[in-house]
Every structure is written in structure tokens, then in C-alpha cells.
């Protein structure tokens, strides 16, 4: 292993971007194939290329992570393009997360799109969005942050509206786009105000300028920071820019919902973590931690209570993903300088576990849509007797999302709440724990429908979609294995998070 690990340091600097490049190049390759063979008569080839591309990205990110690229041991983050991008442990951690989710979604889509004519476009849009997310994780300047955010968002709009004959899908796409456009402009305006106050777009320079005092412009900077936070609230589906999420997740093809609610949300957090921790000092009179405390509490409570009242599984999952955004916000809400790395890392680890369990849950919905069983809890009744394996997996996702101990979600939530208590915000942990306990109610409704209720009418499930099944089972295995295997995840997350704290 040692010689291989050495090599990562000896490569040219730009190769540190390889995980992002792998995603982007695969997307381009798919477009090339599509233009040569526009009828895309070889669906397996397209899906195979997209899968290999995302797995390659995952492999590269994993290799760099274990080799210590960009981490304290090998000289810290690798700065590229005049410091506009930085590849460090945190960027790689998130890139590995995005690549995993992308791989799952791409594999699952193979069956979901079985008679859809535009598969190459679908895969390339997914990969371009993933590229944007990978860059969001590495953005070290507000300009790059904005461009990466748009690169991730624009393909997402198209993906949500991908089923263009389906009125729900198109409507969802439009709503997502309108709110996205609004929040992008808020974000861009926020960036311009921060620039006006500090004279720089590079995060470390912004930090230095704000720490040094910005004579009379503190108010401008504060409004700017508030607006930047608004941009993140949109991307992470947090209050107050969360309205789009239930609509978009419900209308979108289920694999796209999985992609948006797992990867896209994590990307928003990746960017938010870096911009706020690296760019905006806490001791400059702008107390953004307070802002995130309010947002975290409101987001998790609102998401949970709304989820409890839903009748459709996909909408319930959409609101539950808002609730989980609230948990992940604890990473910033309980941040307190020096020791803040631990809670930040816990939040990252939670996003990773969430990436698997939430993607899996949405993919189960994709499976149900593929079979044509309905959307409500009642329609899921008795599915377990027809599809026991997938139902076991779905039960694992539900219990893990609720934070029951035998699954990965328990540890990630526990570490998150403990991190908050350690940082002195025990009330934040208490709100989180109460919400988490309540969430068992609506998650267990799915399990109850699957296993305990009898099917209402006869229904034929038709063929077994192998790829979709494989993706679901893989996500379930990962969710279970993340309990005994949580140690490396949390250790990596906390150590890489600590290094970005200035």
C-alpha cells in the first residue's frame, strides 16, 4: 500500500481535482456518444459508462483521502488557480459522498428509464450536476462558489422536469427553477455586498478583512452574509427557502429526488461549511452562529411536523429531508471556533450516512413507481409479501433515518447531538433529540404499511428490476455497515473538519 500512497503526493497539483474531473469528463463522453449514436440504442453502455465514471471518481476521492492528500500530514490543502479552488480533506470527503450517491442513482436509473428515449442526456445531466457539487466542495472563492452552485443547479432543474409528458414533473421543474433563480440572485447580491465590504472574493482574504474591521461597513457585510446564508438555505432545502423541496421531490423522477435530497443537499452544506467557517470570522461582530441556531431549530421542527401529516410516502420523505437538513445545520449552529471542528465533522458524517439511507429510501419509492403501485402509505400495504428483500432494505432505511440504534443513523445523530452538547449547546441537542424521537412515528408508518397491513387489492408487480434492486440492497448494506464501521468515517470527518477551522 505504501508505494501507492506515496504516488498521490508526486502527481502534478492539478490532478488533485481528479475526482471532479472524472465526473465532468464522463458527462462529456456521454454527450459525445449521444451525438455519434443519437438513438442511444445501447442503454447498458450508457449506464455502464456513467457508473464507471462515478465509481472512478469515488475511487480517486477515496484514494486521495487515505493517502492524506491535502491534509495536514502532507502539507495542507492544495490551492489551485490562484487560490480559487482548494482540495483538502473536506473537499475529498464530500466528493466521495457525491460520487457514491451518483453511482447509486445512475445504477438505479437504468431500470427506471427502461423505455425512455433520452437516456444519454439524463446520465450526462446527473454527472454535470455532480461535477458542480464536487467543485462546490472545493470552492475557495465566492465567485467559484456561485459558479459551482449554478453548475450543480442548472442540470438539476432539467432533471426534475425530465419526464416532460408528466405535468407533475414539469410543474415541479418550474417551481424549482423559479425559487432557484430567486435564491441565486439573493446569493449573488449577498456576494457583491460582502465584496463591497471586504474588497475580496477569496475566502481567506474575506476572513482577514472582516477580522481587521471594516470601518462602517459592518452592516453591509452583515446583510451580505445574511443573503449568502439565504443561498445556502435554498440549496440545502432549509427554512426559509425550503418550499420547493416537497414539490420538486414529489414531481421529479424518484432517482432524481434521491439525487437532489442526498447529494445536492450535502453539496449545499459542503459549501456553507467552508464559506462560513473559512470566510466569515465569528469575532467580527457578525454572529452568524445565532442565525443558524434559529434556522436549525425551525428547520428540523417544521420538517418533522410537516412530515408527520403527509399521506404520500414521497412527500413524507421530502419533508423528512428538510428535517435532516435541520440536524445537519447543527454543525454550523453549534460551531464555536477552535473546538468547532468536532461538531462540524459530526455533521459531515451525518450527511454521509444520510446520503446512503435517504438515497436508498427514495430508490425504494422509485421501485414502487416502476411497479406502478400508488404513492400513499395505504398503497404500500402488503408490499413486503411481494418484495421481501426490498422491504427489508426500506425498513432499514426508515429505522436508520429515525435514528434507531442498530443502524448507521443512530451513531451519526448521536455524535451530532453530543458534539452540540460538548460545544455547550445542550438545548440544541435536546430539540434535535425530541424531533428525532417524534420522527419514529412517521417513519414507522412506512414499515407498518409494508409488513403489517394486508394488500388492499390484487396487484401484479411484474418484472424484477435487477439494477434498481442492486442499488437499494447496496444502500441498505452500507447503512447497516456504517454502524460497526463508523469509526473511520467520524475520525476522518472530524480531522478534516478541524483543519479548515482557521
Amino acid at each position: 500500500m505504501e508505494p501507492l500512497l506515496m504516488q498521490a503526493d508526486q502527481l502534478p497539483q492539478w490532478t488533485a481535482l481528479a475526482p471532479a474531473l472524472a465526473l465532468g469528463l464522463t458527462g462529456l463522453l456521454l454527450i459525445l456518444i449521444d451525438s455519434v449514436d443519437p438513438d442511444s440504442s445501447r442503454p447498458a453502455l450508457l449506464a455502464g459508462i456513467a457508473t464507471v465514471g462515478s465509481l472512478a471518481s469515488l475511487g480517486l476521492a477515496g484514494w486521495f483521502l487515505s493517502a492524506g492528500t491535502g491534509q495536514a500530514g502532507t502539507g495542507g490543502g492544495i490551492s489551485l488557480f490562484g487560490d480559487a479552488l482548494v482540495v483538502d480533506g473536506m473537499a475529498l470527503f464530500f466528493q466521495a459522498l457525491f460520487a457514491s450517491v451518483t453511482a447509486l442513482v445512475v445504477v438505479a436509473s437504468y431500470d427506471y428509464l427502461h423505455d425512455h428515449p433520452h437516456r444519454a442526456e439524463f446520465y450526462s445531466l446527473v454527472l454535470f450536476a455532480a461535477t458542480g457539487m464536487a467543485l462546490m466542495a472545493a470552492a475557495n472563492s465566492l465567485a467559484v462558489a456561485f459558479i459551482a452552485l449554478e453548475l450543480a443547479s442548472l442540470p438539476s432543474y432539467a432533471l426534475v422536469a425530465f419526464l416532460k409528458r408528466d405535468a407533475g414533473s414539469v410543474e415541479a421543474g418550474l417551481k424549482y427553477f423559479l425559487i432557484g433563480a430567486l435564491s441565486s440572485s439573493v446569493f449573488a447580491f449577498g456576494i457583491s455586498l460582502v465584496y463591497a465590504a471586504t474588497g475580496s472574493l477569496l475566502l481567506p482574504d474575506v476572513y482577514a478583512a472582516l477580522s481587521g474591521g471594516v470601518e462602517g461597513l459592518t452592516g453591509v457585510a452583515a446583510v451580505g452574509i445574511l443573503m449568502v446564508a439565504g443561498g445556502f438555505a435554498f440549496k440545502t432545502a432549509s427554512v426559509p427557502f425550503h418550499f420547493w423541496a416537497p414539490e420538486a421531490y414529489e414531481g421529479a423522477p424518484a432517482p432524481v429526488s434521491a439525487f437532489l435530497s442526498s447529494a445536492s443537499k450535502a453539496a449545499g452544506f459542503a459549501l456553507a461549511f467552508r464559506v462560513f467557517v473559512v470566510g466569515f470570522p465569528l469575532d467580527a461582530g457578525i454572529d452568524w452562529v445565532l442565525l443558524f441556531q434559529v434556522l436549525a431549530v425551525v428547520t428540523m421542527t417544521l420538517g418533522n411536523f410537516a412530515a408527520a401529516t403527509q399521506e404520500e410516502v414521497k412527500r413524507m420523505l421530502a419533508y423528512s429531508s428538510i428535517g435532516h437538513a435541520g440536524y445537519a445545520l447543527i454543525g454550523l449552529a453549534a460551531f464555536s471556533g477552535g473546538a468547532g471542528g468536532d461538531v462540524l465533522g459530526a455533521s459531515m458524517a451525518h450527511l454521509l450516512v444520510y446520503g446512503f439511507m435517504n438515497t436508498g429510501a427514495f430508490l425504494f419509492v422509485a421501485l414502487a413507481e416502476h411497479w406502478g403501485v400508488g404513492r400513499t402509505f395505504d398503497d404500500y400495504a402488503g408490499l413486503a409479501s411481494r418484495a421481501p428483500m426490498a422491504s427489508v432494505a426500506m425498513s432499514v432505511f426508515m429505522f436508520s433515518l429515525a435514528g434507531l440504534p442498530p443502524f448507521g443513523g443512530f451513531f451519526s445523530k448521536y455524535f451530532l447531538f453530543m458534539g452540540a452538547i460538548d460545544a455547550g449547546f445542550w438545548w440544541l441537542a435536546a430539540v434535535g433529540a425530541i424531533n428525532s424521537a417524534l420522527s419514529l412515528f412517521y417513519y414507522s408508518r412506512v414499515v407498518k404499511a409494508l409488513w403489517l397491513n394486508d394488500a388492499v387489492g390484487e396487484f401484479e408487480l411484474g418484472s424484477t428490476p435487477t439494477a434498481l434492486y442492486a442499488a437499494i440492497v447496496f444502500a441498505a448494506v452500507a447503512t447497516v455497515l456504517l454502524l460497526p464501521g463508523f469509526a473511520p468515517v467520524i475520525e476522518t470527518a472530524q480531522s478534516v473538519a478541524t483543519t479548515i477551522v482557521p
Partner: protein, 510 residues
């Protein structure tokens, strides 16, 4: 390594059975479940620990590996057994195997899932009784709930969904309360891990610091209350027992056997390990001891009275479990060697006897399809062997000498009578003894009406003979009960050895 092997094999067996075809699942599950039985008996044969695992005693079959670190606390894979946990490990494996056999007749749908879940539950139960790290223990503790939820909810009676959810919600909220109570303790101790021995010893060395204005004594009291409340639901004691009859009545027979036989013991085991071993200074406060002793006596009497009022044989046995668990609590709070020892012994004895009773009722139900006392009479006519064993088991329940129940209750009464911890201990003991009279009353009454007299049956089922494999587990359980009654030292010696340090802390005497 044998504990890892035991748990690992059982998990693996669960997986194999889950994937097996329905026709063979039952037989396969039984065959595989014999492996942990052999393993646990081997552990019993080679057992060489001394003292209490939590109080610097030597731990048998110990493994201690670092798992991960959270906020400065090590989480470990830390397992091992002492004289308290080993009997419960043996009980779990034996009862699981027998419960699996007793499921062959009543379970006729989705067998592979049923037996897979039974084995999955067994694996987690083994984890609960062997884990010595709080986190590891908690993971197993909660993981037991998941298969139980499905076992009741999928294969249960008409109101199974209600019963399953009630069970799940009750016990989950209880776990949360307990978890918070325990965490409040740990975070104010200068310990570096969640290892139960380390926490216990640190607590007893008086190293607890105060927390948000609560001085250590108050904090201990609060934690004790939270943990007691959490575990009391699991035991269960009056007034948090209401989930139990629902769960029992709706659960299929083999699941009732596991619920009464092993799952209730998780509660009393945890009470002994956490509340009574870690916080003896709280438990021995006169007021606390009085309250707990009163709860115990009320559970004994009220549980028995409720049983007296039932018409459903399964409800009778279920409520009498509440009564029997009351004795365990009384024995624990007595803080004498015989009291706590008897309570621990009662956990095993009651596991065997209540398992036997539920199975016997199940066998009768299999052939008659009714459990109502008024619906049948003279069953002894048609199924003499089953009825014979049921009667023997019932006498065991009433405390017939030379059966395990007698030994256990005798120890408890003896220990509670001499207790210096419970104020006016003889009074409480005497009051609880009335429970025996009521137990004898309702069991004899129910048996007389259903088992003896002229045969008649008010359902339209033809009564066939019970299968051999229905009756065989009953016979095995009866033999085990008698063996433990004749020679309690099979377990009692190691139990006494392990509880001695607990008693010594409060100077409770024998």
C-alpha cells in the same frame, strides 16, 4: 472469542434461515439454534469467573477491543460474562430453541422470515446479556425491539398491529428516558470510556461531579429515577404494565414464550446491573427503598388480582408474569445475598416456567382454537400428557417444592424478610406472600374448569392429538424446572458469587 462466535453464528443462522425456503425453515432454524445452545453450555461448563463483572471481579470469556471514540469517550466491543449474566445466556439459547420447535405447528405463513427473526432476536439477546460497554449494550438492547415488533405485528392475532405499535412505542420511549438518565451520569464522571465496569467503579469511588446546579446526590437520584422508569416499563411493573397483556395476547405462542421468558428479564437484568449495582446509595435511601418495595408488592398483588379476573388463559399467564416480576423487584431491593440472588434465580426460573405455561396454552389452542376458560372443559381427557405437564408447570408457578419456582421464591422471601434496607421489611414480605395464595387460587380455578371434569368444547374444531414436537419442548422445560429446583446450585452458586460485592457495598448481609 466464544461469545463472538456465539453471537456471530446466531446472526449467520438468522440470515441463512431468512433465505431458506419456507418448507424447511422451521427444521433448519431448530438445527442451527442448537449451535448456540451447545456453545452456551460449553461456556457454563468452563466458567471460571469470580465476583461481579462490574465491580472488579474477574470476567469470563472477556474480549475488549476499541471501536471508536466520541468526544473523548472510548466505545468498545467489550463482552464477557459473570455469574449473573451466564445463567441468562443459557436461558436465552435454550428457550429460543424450544420456542422455535413450538412454532412448527402454529406458524403457517412466511416461515423463513419468522424463524429468521426469531434467531435474529436471539443473537441480540445474547448481546444484551454479554455486553459490558454501555453503547454496545444499548445497540443490542434496542435491536431486540425490531424483530419483536415484526413478530407480533405480522404473525399475531386480530389486534396485532395495535399491540405491536403499543409495545414498540412504550419500550422505545422508556429506552430514551433511561438513555438520558444514564448519559447524565456518564458525562459528569471522570471516565474515558463507556465500559460499564469503569463507570461503576468510578461512581462508587464517589467521583461524580455536579451538573447545572444539581449536586452529585441529586443528580444520582434523578438518574436513578430515569433509569428505573425506563427499565420498569420493560419488566414491567404496575402501573406501566399495560402493554404486556396486549402484546402477549396478540403474539403467537413462540413469541409469547420469548417475550415472557427472556425479554422481561432484560428489564430486571438491567435494573440489577445499572440501578442496584451502580447506585446502591440511592436505592438504599429509606424513601426510595420503600417506594420500590411498595411498587414490587403492588405488582405482585395487583398483577395476581388482574390474572384472577381473566377468562383468557393467555391473559392469565401474562398477568401472572407481572406478579412474578414483582417478586424479582422485591428481591433486588432487599439487598441481601438471598434476596438479590433469589431475584436473579427467579429470572431464570420464571423464564422456564412461564415459557412452559405459554407453550402449554399454545398447544391447547392449536387443537381447540380457543383459549377462553368458559369454552372448554375436560381437556385432560383428550390430551393427557400436555395437561399433565401443564398442571406440573402450574404447580411450579405456585411454588411447589423441588421445582425452580419454589427455590427462587423461598430465597426471595427469606432474603427480603431479613432485609435491613427496606423499612419494615417483614411487613412488605408478608404482604407479598399473599400473592402466592392468589396465584394458587386463579391457577387452580382455571385448571379445574378447563382441564378436568367432563369433556366438552364450544368451538367447531375437531380435537386431534397434539404432535410429538408440540409436547416435547414442554417436557424439556419441565425437566429443566425440576432440575433447577432439586439442584439450584447449578446456577445459584455462581449467582451468589457475583452478587456478593453488590450486597457488600451496602452491608446487606446474607
Amino acid at each position: 472469542m466464544i461469545i463472538e462466535a456465539l453471537i456471530g453464528i446466531t446472526f449467520l443462522a438468522a440470515l441463512v434461515v431468512m433465505l431458506a425456503p419456507d418448507e424447511y425453515a422451521g427444521k433448519l432454524a431448530f438445527a442451527l439454534s442448537l449451535l448456540p445452545v451447545v456453545g452456551s453450555l460449553y461456556m457454563w461448563a468452563g466458567f471460571d469467573a469470580g465476583g461481579n463483572a462490574l465491580m472488579a471481579g474477574s470476567i469470563a470469556y472477556q474480549t475488549q477491543l476499541d471501536w471508536l471514540t466520541v468526544a473523548g469517550y472510548d466505545l468498545q466491543w467489550f463482552v464477557g460474562v459473570d455469574g449473573i449474566s451466564l445463567p441468562l445466556v443459557v436461558l436465552s439459547t435454550v428457550l429460543s430453541s424450544l420456542a422455535i420447535v413450538s412454532a412448527w405447528t402454529p406458524i403457517d405463513t412466511r416461515q423463513s422470515q419468522f424463524y429468521g427473526l426469531m434467531l435474529f432476536m436471539e443473537a441480540n439477546l445474547l448481546g444484551v446479556f454479554t455486553a459490558l460497554d454501555f453503547f454496545l449494550w444499548f445497540v443490542f438492547w434496542e435491536a431486540v425491539l425490531v424483530p419483536m415488533y415484526f413478530l407480533i405485528g405480522v404473525w399475531g392475532g386480530p389486534r396485532r398491529k395495535y399491540a405491536a405499535i403499543k409495545f414498540f412505542v412504550y419500550t422505545n420511549i422508556a429506552s430514551l428516558v433511561m438513555f438520558i438518565g444514564f448519559m447524565a451520569l456518564v458525562f459528569n464522571l471522570p471516565v474515558g470510556s463507556f465500559g460499564l465496569p469503569e463507570i461503576t467503579q468510578s461512581l462508587q469511588a464517589g467521583e461524580l461531579s455536579s451538573f447545572v446546579g444539581l449536586d452529585p446526590a441529586t443528580l444520582k437520584l434523578a438518574a436513578f429515577a430515569a433509569m428505573f422508569a425506563g427499565f420498569a416499563v420493560k419488566v414491567p411493573v404496575v402501573p406501566v404494565h399495560t402493554w404486556l397483556p396486549d402484546a402477549h395476547v396478540e403474539a403467537p405462542t413462540p413469541v409469547s414464550v420469548m417475550l415472557a421468558g427472556v425479554l422481561l428479564k432484560m428489564g430486571t437484568y438491567a435494573l440489577l446491573r445499572f440501578n442496584f449495582t451502580m447506585l446502591p446509595d440511592v436505592a438504599t435511601r429509606p424513601l426510595v427503598a420503600t417506594v420500590i418495595a411498595a411498587i414490587a408488592v403492588i405488582s405482585v398483588i395487583y398483577g395476581a388480582m388482574l390474572a384472577l379476573a381473566q377468562q383468557d388463559l393467555k391473559r392469565i399467564v401474562a398477568y401472572s408474569s407481572v406478579s412474578s416480576m414483582g417478586y424479582v423487584i422485591l428481591g433486588l431491593i432487599a439487598y441481601t445475598g438471598l434476596g438479590i440472588g433469589g431475584a436473579t434465580f427467579q429470572m431464570v426460573a420464571h423464564g422456564l416456567i412461564s415459557g412452559l405455561m405459554f407453550m402449554a396454552v399454545g398447544v391447547i389452542y392449536n387443537v381447540t382454537h380457543t383459549r377462553m376458560v368458559g369454552d372448554m372443559s375436560g381437556m385432560a381427557d383428550r390430551m393427557p400428557i400436555t395437561v399433565g405437564i401443564l398442571v406440573a408447570g402450574a404447580f411450579g408457578y405456585m411454588g411447589l417444592p423441588l421445582m425452580a419456582g419454589f427455590a427462587a421464591e423461598y430465597f426471595i422471601f427469606q432474603g427480603a424478610f431479613a432485609s435491613t434496607v427496606i423499612p419494615s421489611a417483614p411487613l412488605f414480605t408478608a404482604a407479598s406472600m399473599f400473592g402466592i395464595v392468589i396465584v394458587a387460587g386463579y391457577l387452580l380455578f382455571a385448571m379445574q374448569r378447563t382441564l378436568f371434569g367432563e369433556f366438552s368444547l364450544e368451538t367447531d374444531y375437531e380435537v386431534r392429538r397434539a404432535h410429538f414436537h408440540d409436547v416435547a419442548p414442554l417436557a424439556v422445560l419441565l425437566l429443566c424446572t425440576i432440575a433447577l429446583g432439586v439442584a439450584p446450585n447449578i446456577f445459584f452458586e455462581m449467582i451468589t458469587d457475583a452478587i456478593e460485592p453488590v450486597v457488600a457495598v451496602v452491608g446487606g448481609g446474607a
